[in-house]
Amino acid sequence: MTLAIEMKHIEKSYGDFHALKNVSLSLEAGKKLVVCGPSGSGKSTLIRCINGLESFDEGDVLIWGERLEPKKMQKLRSEMGMVFQQFNLFPHLTVLENLTLAPIWVQNTPKASAEARAKEMLERVKMIDHVHKFPSQLSGGQQQRIAIARALCMNPKIMLFDEPTSALDPEMIKEVLDVMLELAVTGMTMVCVTHEMGFARQAADRIIFMDAGEIIEEGTPEEFFSHPKTDRAQLFLSQILHQA
C-alpha cells in the first residue's frame, strides 16, 4: 500500500525546549489517524511539521514518497488541506471568495469553475445559504465548516485537523464532527488532533498518544481505549472521560 505520510526520526526544539523527540510515524493512503495527548505535548507541532508550517531540526517528512523540502513545499501544501483550531477564515473576503481564492491563484482554475466547485463543497458542509456572507457574520461552528470546505476546494488527498472543535460551544461540536465523519467515509486520508473520543472510536484506524514531545503509545482505538498500556495514557483517559 502507498504511504501518504511518513515521518522519520523528527527532532524539533524551540531554543532549549525539546518539543518533538525522535517522532516517527507512517500513514497509508485512505487511513485515519487520531493524535491525542495532554496540552503542550507537541500535537500541534507534530501536525504542523507534516505540511511544513513548522520547520524541524532533524529527520525527514515524506508525502506520497516525496521529501518535504522548500522547493516542493508549495505544491505539496496545495494537495493537503489544513483546518485550524481558530478557523482562520479570511475576514476581508466573503465565504465564496474564501473558498475560491486558492483555487484561482494557486491552481489557476477559471473563476466560474472555482465558484461551481466552491458551491458544491458548501452543499456538502450544509452552508450553501451563506455564500455571500462574511466570516464575522457566522457562528463558530459555521465558520469551521466553511474552513473545512475551503480546504476541500483544493481537492486535497490528505486533510489535517488541529483540534477543530476545541474552540466551539458544545452544541456546535456535533455539526463539525458530522462533516468530518462524512468526509472520513469518502476515503480521505486524515490526521486529526482531537480529544473527541467518540469521533476517534467511530472514524480512526489508529490512535497515537503523545506526552512531552514523544509518541508513547500507538494502536487501534479499541486497544487504546480499553487497554491503555502506559500509566500516562491511563491517567489521561480517566481525566477526559471524567470531563465527558
Binding site: 505540511n51 508549495q74 482562520n88 476581508h92 480546504a151
Partner: protein, 351 residues
C-alpha cells in the same frame, strides 16, 4: 435612509442628555453657550451681515471685504497658471476626484486592484497635462503652478510615490535579512528625525550643489521627491503597525492552502493590515496636506503662499484677515472632507 435613522437617534440622545442634567450642570452649560455666542456674534456680524461681496473695488463697509477674495479667486485656486489654459488643471483635479470617488465606491478588493494604476498613471498624466510638453500643449513652467492646485498636487503626487515606498520600507523593516532590515530602519529613523522644512531647504538649496553641474532638475520635482521620502517614513510605520496587527493564523492559513509568499502578502495579509490602519493613513494625508504650506520657504506659492502674496498688494492692503480666513476655511474644508471620507471607508469595510 439608515443615516437618517442614526441622526434621529443622535438627536434623541442629545435631548436626553440635556434634560438629564442637574441644575448646576444646566447653569454651567448655559453660561458656556452664552459665552460662545458672545464670541461668535461679532464674527458673524463682520463676516456676513456687514460684509460686502459686490463690485470689484475696495470696500466701503466696515465688515469683511470678500471682494478681495473674489477678484483673486483664480490665483488662490491655480496660482499664475495661464488663464486660457485653465481647463488643464480643472481636468487634472477632476481626474483625481473621480479616482477618489471610485476608491470610495468600489469594493475593497477592487480598490486594491486599481490602486497601483491610480498611483502610477495619475501623477504622470497630471504632470503631462499641466506641463503640456508631452502632449504637444503649450508649455507652462512649474513656477506658474500655484494656489490650491499646487497644494493638492504636492499632496497627491507625493502620496502616490510615498505609499509604495512606505510599503517597501515597512516590509524591509520586518525582513529577516539583517542588511535590508538595518537599511530600512536607518532610512525611516533618519527621515522621521528631520523637520519637513529642512527637507524642503535641502532639496532646493543643497541638492543642486551635490548634483553634477549642468543637470537641472525642476524645483517642483525636487519638492515632490523630498516630500515623498519624508512621508514614506511615516507611512512605513503606519503600515508596519497594520501588518503586525494581522493574526499569525492568517498567514498560516494562506500558506496551508499553497499560496506563495507574495500572494500571501497581497491577497491576505496586506488587505487586512491596510484596512486596520485607514484612520492613521488618512491622518498622515491630512498632516501632509497642511504641511504643504511650508513650500513658501522655497519660493513656491501654494494656497497660503498666494494668499500671503495677495495680502501685500498695495491696492488691497488691510484685507489680510479675509485672506487668512479664506485660506483657513479651504484647508479646513479639505481636511474635514478627508476625515469624513476615512470614517465612511471604515464603516463600509467593517461589515
Amino acid at each position: 435612509m439608515s443615516e437618517l435613522r442614526v441622526l434621529k437617534r443622535v438627536k434623541k440622545i442629545d435631548r436626553a442628555a440635556w434634560f438629564g442634567q442637574t441644575t448646576l450642570q444646566k447653569v454651567i452649560n448655559g453660561v458656556l453657550i452664552l459665552l460662545l455666542l458672545a464670541c461668535l456674534v461679532p464674527v458673524f456680524k463682520w463676516a456676513v451681515i456687514d460684509a460686502q461681496i459686490r463690485g470689484s473695488e475696495r470696500c466701503v463697509t466696515e465688515g469683511a471685504c470678500w471682494v478681495f477674495i473674489k477678484v483673486r479667486l483664480l490665483t488662490f485656486a491655480f496660482g499664475f497658471y495661464e488663464t486660457h489654459e485653465l481647463w488643464r488643471p480643472v481636468f487634472v483635479l477632476s481626474m483625481w476626484t473621480l479616482a477618489l470617488v471610485t476608491i470610495f465606491r468600489a469594493s475593497y478588493n477592487f480598490t486594491l486592484k486599481i490602486l497601483p494604476f491610480f498611483i502610477t498613471l495619475l501623477p504622470l498624466l497630471s504632470w503631462g497635462l499641466l506641463d503640456g510638453r508631452w502632449f504637444g500643449l503649450p508649455y507652462i513652467e512649474t513656477a506658474k503652478w500655484g494656489g490650491l492646485l499646487l497644494s493638492l498636487m504636492i499632496t497627491l503626487v507625493s502620496l502616490s510615490m510615498a505609499f509604495p515606498l512606505g510599503l517597501l520600507l515597512a516590509l524591509g523593516r520586518m525582513s529577516r535579512l539583517p542588511l535590508i532590515k538595518a537599511g530600512s530602519v536607518a532610512f525611516i529613523e533618519l527621515w522621521r528625525g528631520v523637520p519637513l522644512i529642512a527637507v524642503l531647504f535641502m532639496s532646493s538649496v543643497m541638492l543642486p550643489l551635490v548634483l553634477p553641474p549642468g543637470t537641472e532638475v525642476d524645483k517642483l520635482i525636487r519638492v515632490f521627491v523630498g516630500v515623498s521620502l519624508f512621508t514614506s517614513a511615516y507611512l512605513a510605520e503606519v503600515i508596519r503597525s497594520g501588518l503586525n496587527g494581522v493574526p499569525k493564523g492568517q498567514g498560516e492559513a494562506a500558506s496551508a492552502l499553497g499560496l506563495g509568499a507574495r500572494q500571501r502578502l497581497f491577497l491576505v495579509v496586506l488587505p487586512q493590515a491596510l484596512q486596520a490602519v485607514i484612520p492613521s493613513l488618512v491622518n498622515s494625508c491630512i498632516s501632509l496636506f497642511k504641511d504643504t504650506s511650508l513650500v513658501v520657504v522655497v519660493g513656491m506659492f501654494d494656497l497660503l503662499g498666494t494668499v500671503q502674496q495677495a495680502n501685500t498688494d498695495p491696492y488691497w492692503l488691510g484685507y489680510s484677515t479675509e485672506g487668512y480666513m479664506f485660506a483657513g476655511l479651504i484647508y479646513w474644508g479639505v481636511c474635514f472632507a478627508l476625515s469624513r471620507f476615512s470614517l465612511q471607508l471604515e464603516k463600509v469595510r467593517n461589515v
